[in-house]
């Protein structure tokens, strides 16, 4: 089965490429069919956990966690492909786009099923560079470049850790190799820190987040959902490996413990907390909807990191589930923005408005997505955030809990921003004529919407898999009884919550219908304090939505300039080297050579 999937993937990459050369649209449909086939194929692997297959120098094995992550990724990839046929004319290399899309898909799936460390790294890098080449077909080359460089920082650290591990332990198997560090906290700390770095960069954890808004904001609209919903989650898998497979809690067992968390892990969690706060604050500031969503990915990456690093009954389950919830919600939100951009040509919130009157289904998709993203019941995002909160308050990690609370409430602010500025408010006359997104696109988006809703109402479907992962890791599994999700310090029945919510809604709906019917008036027919304004754009509140709040931190330094300065410093060092050592004068080189000869001779004579 596994072999078939791998061969199918490789064949389909070539097939999609050749087909796209002939006619880009066919290639786009090919990506749709291929990713659907991949989704079906991988979902069939659920039963064959433990099966291994070697493909040349790559070794794969089916694990529950790998299956779980692959399903998430494939879902996101699959739904994004619904948009492909409509975007082929915007790309200058459509064939390359389709082929690289499938290559990155193969890379990510391979990553989750990797059995040995080399396979892990190879798949990781393949996914990175292929997605980088896709990002460059969007609006910005700089963004693709920053994406690659930041990823490279993480990848190289991880490569270092992997090679050191292989060298030290003598085995490449992921499950066996890390055991070596049980007795050596110093070396283990080095490997742990280096290994998780690629996960941190990929998830956009605080000082490494700079690529994320750039890349997500300027990637082709069809690929931003994959970046945010899919590829970022590769980082979560690395975080999982470095805390669950790498015996981090045992290795750091004799370190300073803070509420049961060893200091190195706590430090990483704090970084996650900083990401939550930072991502939230920056998201509130953005004017471009995609950049806003990108910063929200930074914040949500923080939740996932904290959750996974807790490695306990509640927050760990929450972290893993949040991977899915955020993937689904974020992909849906990005896709909705893509649909808007397809019709209007922009994602700038200050230029849009009133889209709900032209694209109501897209609006609903976005609404459900942000409800889930903000962690409001009855959508999936609530369950995972709730589990993380319960876990944090159980351990008494108060600073992280503060950050989590801030990110949670802050998310109301930023997710409401596009809702209000893009979909609600005044409709500009220039968008008077636009139509609802194409039905094919709507199918893709509505699939995700349905998933968000289902995850919120019956989260136990997913939590069952997570509980199994927890059992495999030997930690207390999350408790599931029917529709009740229970933890040590609280339980929730999402189906009941949904029912009660529906009941309340129904009551009020009846009340509303019983009361006298309202008269429909235009949007411009509003109370304006006796001012007469006839331009809808002027009546649209889209600029600096949270101006008073933004003013409080607008002068805070940004991180990107630090990296720019570093890059400049490197260039200066290069210039320095060029002047000193690569100067086009024979005399200097002779001087250096003679100087060294004399130094060595003198040194040797001593």
């Amino acid at each position: 089965m596994m072999t078939m999937i791998i061969l199918f993937m490789i064949a389909s990459i070539l097939f999609a490429y050749v087909l796209s050369l002939k006619e880009p649209k066919w290639g786009a449909y090919a990506t749709l069919i291929v990713s659907l086939a991949g989704l079906v194929g991988v979902s069939l692997l659920r039963g064959s956990v433990g099966e291994t297959v070697s493909f040349y120098y790559l070794h794969f094995t089916v694990t529950t966690i790998g299956w779980y992550f692959s399903m998430i990724l494939l879902t996101v990839y699959f739904t994004a492909t619904f948009f492909h046929p409509f975007w082929m004319d915007q790309l200058i290399y459509p064939a390359a786009y389709n082929a690289l899309f499938l290559l990155s898909l193969a890379g990510t799936v391979g990553l989750f099923f990797a059995q040995d460390l080399m396979t892990l790294f190879i798949c990781w890098e393949t996914a990175v560079w292929s997605s980088m080449l896709i990002v460059q077909q969007g609006k910005s080359r700089q963004a693709a470049w920053v994406y690659f460089v930041m990823s490279a920082i993480g990848s190289m650290a991880t490569l270092f850790a992997i090679l050191l591990t292989i060298f030290m332990s003598g085995t490449t198997m992921i499950t066996d190799a890390f055991i070596y560090f049980m007795g050596s906290p110093a070396l283990g700390g080095l490997v742990f820190g280096a290994f998780i770095l690629s996960g941190l960069t990929k998830m956009g954890i605080f000082p490494f987040h700079v690529w994320l808004p750039l890349a997500h904001g300027s990637a082709p609209h069809t690929f931003s959902p994959v970046l945010s919903g899919g590829l970022v989650k590769m980082g979560a898998y690395i975080a999982y490996l470095s805390v669950a497979v790498f015996p981090a809690y045992q290795v750091f067992g004799d370190q300073l413990m803070l509420q049961g968390v060893p200091l190195p892990i706590y430090a990483l969690m704090l970084l996650g907390g900083v990401s939550i706060v930072y991502g939230t604050l920056r998201a509130i500031q953005q004017d471009d909807a995609k950049r806003l969503l990108a910063y929200s990915s930074v914040a949500n990456g923080g939740y996932i990191l904290i959750g996974i690093l807790m490695l306990d009954q509640m927050a760990f389950a929450g972290g893993l589930m949040h991977v899915l919830n955020h993937a689904v919600a974020s992909a849906a939100a990005f896709l909705a923005m893509a649909a808007v951009a397809k019709r209007t040509g922009t994602t700038k919130m200050s230029e849009l408005g009133g889209m709900i009157h032209r694209m109501p289904v897209t609006y609903v998709v976005y609404l459900i997505a942000i409800i889930s993203m903000a962690g409001i019941p009855p959508m999936g995002g609530f369950v995972s955030k709730w589990l993380i909160f319960q876990g944090l308050s159980h351990r008494g990690l108060i600073f992280l809990a503060t950050a989590a609370a801030f990110g949670s409430i802050g998310s109301y602010l930023y997710v409401f921003r596009p809702l209000s500025a893009v979909f609600l408010g005044q409709l500009a006359p220039k968008y008077e004529k636009i139509k609802e997104a194409d039905p094919l696109m709507l199918i893709g988006m509505l699939l995700l919407t349905a998933m968000s809703l289902l995850l919120g109402i019956v989260p136990n479907v997913v939590l069952r898999t997570i509980a199994q992962i927890q059992i495999e890791l030997g930690i207390d599994p999350i408790m599931i009884k029917g529709t009740i999700t229970a933890t040590q310090n609280g339980s929730v029945n999402m189906l009941s919550v949904f029912t009660v919510f529906g009941f309340g809604f129904l009551l009020i709906l009846i009340l509303f219908l019983v009361l006298p019917k309202s008269r429909r008036v235009g949007l411009m027919d509003t109370y304006t304090s006796a001012e007469f304004i006839h331009t809808p754009e002027l009546l649209h509140y889209g600029h600096h939505f949270y101006a008073p709040f933004e003013r409080l931190y607008e002068k805070w330094p940004s991180v990107l300039p630090l990296y720019q300065r570093l890059s400049l410093k490197l260039k200066e060092m290069g210039e320095w080297a060029e002047t000193f050592f690569f100067h086009a004068e024979p005399n200097r080189a002779v001087f250096w050579m003679v100087l060294l000869v004399i130094l060595i001779t003198v040194g040797g004579a001593r």
């Binding site: 100067h583 086009a584 004068e585 024979p586 005399n587 002779v590 001087f591 003679v594």
Partner: protein
């Protein structure tokens, strides 16, 4: 003694290479350096009161007092190579002169 002469010549050559930017002078300095190296090599094979390394009838009387022939062979080759390089260097220098009207590298401006 002769070794020191060789080393001195090498050092003089290096001094020239480090200080001048005149192409002809650079080639001269290079030649001085090579000369020094050659003298040094010869000195390696030198045996006081040694004979030419040719087997003759009265060989048994002078056993173990040959001059080592190998360094001489090396020097011959090295001289030829040095000659080739100098010739090439001079041609290059002359062509540069034709193009730029000067032998001084600093006047041509090495960068671009």
């Amino acid at each position: 003694m002769i070794q020191f002469a060789g080393i001195a010549l090498i050092l003089i050559g290096i001094y020239g290479l480090m200080t001048t930017k005149h192409m002809i002078k650079l080639i001269i300095a290079l030649n001085v350096m090579e000369l020094g190296a050659n003298i040094f090599i010869i000195s390696i094979g030198f045996v006081a009161h040694g004979l030419a390394p040719i087997y003759t009838a009265d060989l048994p009387n002078q056993a173990f007092s040959f001059v080592d022939p190998l360094p001489q062979a090396m020097v011959l080759t090295a001289i030829v190579i040095g000659f080739g390089v100098s010739a090439l260097g001079l041609v290059v220098a002359q062509n540069i002169y034709k193009k730029h009207g000067t032998y001084d590298l600093s006047e041509i401006g090495g960068e671009e």
